[in-house]
Symmetry: C2
Subunit: 335 residues, 2 copies
Amino acid sequence: MINMAKSKPIYTMSNTNQLYIPTFDDVKAAHKRIAPHIHRTPVLTSSYLNNLTGAELFFKCENFQKAGAFKVRGASNAVFGLSDEKAARGVVTHSSGNHALSLSYAAGRRGIQATVVMPHTAPEAKKAAVRGYGGEVHECEPSLAAREEMLEKLIVKTGADFVHPYNDHRVIAGQGTCSLELYQDVGQLDAVVAPIGGGGMISGTCLTMSNVSPKTKIYAAEPKNADDVYRSFHAGEMIEDDAPQTVADGLKVSLRPRTWHFVSTFVSDVLLASEEEIIDAMYLTWQRMKIVIEPSSAVALATILKNKELFEGKRVGVIVTGGNVDLKKLPWMNS
Amino acid sequence: MINMAKSKPIYTMSNTNQLYIPTFDDVKAAHKRIAPHIHRTPVLTSSYLNNLTGAELFFKCENFQKAGAFKVRGASNAVFGLSDEKAARGVVTHSSGNHALSLSYAAGRRGIQATVVMPHTAPEAKKAAVRGYGGEVHECEPSLAAREEMLEKLIVKTGADFVHPYNDHRVIAGQGTCSLELYQDVGQLDAVVAPIGGGGMISGTCLTMSNVSPKTKIYAAEPKNADDVYRSFHAGEMIEDDAPQTVADGLKVSLRPRTWHFVSTFVSDVLLASEEEIIDAMYLTWQRMKIVIEPSSAVALATILKNKELFEGKRVGVIVTGGNVDLKKLPWMNS
């Protein structure tokens, strides 16, 4: 457990000092900006899961999104919001997950270079996927220090714009377009449940819903094995996880100042799910809804199944964050 | 290889003697009849698969259908077309697959009894699923003779209406509603590709498309390991498979007179795919489209990937027949 105040990564210092919090106008502008580059994903329902939970669930299916996850919303908003001059120097990030794919996809659409710092231990399939979208992979040792050193060098060398996976106002505004579409498609909701890792999706959800539907409760769904948000929420201060182990590999990262702002201001509660509950919810979703979702996405349904009393009789939006999963290594195959 | 003329199962004799071939009016009536009981399934597209094939593919996603497969269309049409008097005696069928689930689902919706004859070797999960929909399972020895004997006894005892999985005009008319919706949603198509087993889906597709869009070519996609339709098509007479082995377990059955009528009259060609090609197409669909489809469904895409020259530059409907698959036994896990 690391208190955030003690750890100040170089690349967030300047951001923190000038903490611009995006507004709902930024979300609306983002939606207009990224519309040509993303899918308007469908909202699915399941009578089986409605019966099982007693709630009316509306699944916003970002597993069908470009590059397979919601992350392309924030990444596209950052990339297409750059001036031509800035864009010409490219974009850079660190990520071994969906943000890496999404930034590469968006940069490719704009015809500029994306450079991604990844630990050399990242799966080859992920590196190949980034390259498949035209991104450049720079491999570093799997430590925070090594990652930041390489990132800093690349920024200095190329002048590329750093697009943080979530502690970036453009990214948060972009993620906010997801619940905006959900609201446009299904109307008033009593609650929205979304998985939380670094908090980009939850922040965007809070930003949008607090404007279009302030009475809607926002629940952050988190793996018990990576419960930094739960602990932060109850401590009233940002607490980091230290290398958590969870099947929900997209949710291992910790809050940053911009996302902590939204979590601490707008989230109704943080709900936890065990590894087994996450895997069961993922399996159930594949089996009954016939959609491929990644473990991180299943955390939302897992917490709904576990806390039925919160959702019974309610209209509940569920953000299905992505569908990028190694089909040859499914978590229920180990049991 | 068994010539159909030599094998005359008792339960099809009377049907064969009075071979009523359904009309497009039957399809329209079926659509109205079953609409309250089925999903209007979505049509999905994939820019990745369009790029890969050079065609514009429209996937009609019956994996999202009630009971997980298109079969519920035909089963519902049969069940809800019965007079109250006939319905009161229930319905009966033999099937160890999606038709068993679908008939049980439809009977449950109408509040009547469905009885299903299944070999005792059928997976417990399938039996449990039938019972879950309120169906009654009667287990028999895994032979054609045992199945027919038990079926005949049940019909005599209960007076239940026998709903054959595909050699039934009500079932064929019901399956025809699938391509009717596809046509309504996407308009003119140059071709439609659908998997073929006994031929119920292909027959319904021929029936509908020959009326609404006679220029659309119909391709039947078949596993090379169960190529009775391919051989029948080229021989000009109905030939049966003898216990074929294929991963596409929904496509092991053979043509019957009503479906042979449609195949021999309207199908442009029968395209074959190997086991490896079927598994690859299934994997690719899961990976890129993020949908769970069963091996039988993947045969259509497999044949398109293999015969690109037929489909390049064309608008092609692809019937995704179902999504009922054992998630713990995926075919690529063996390789």
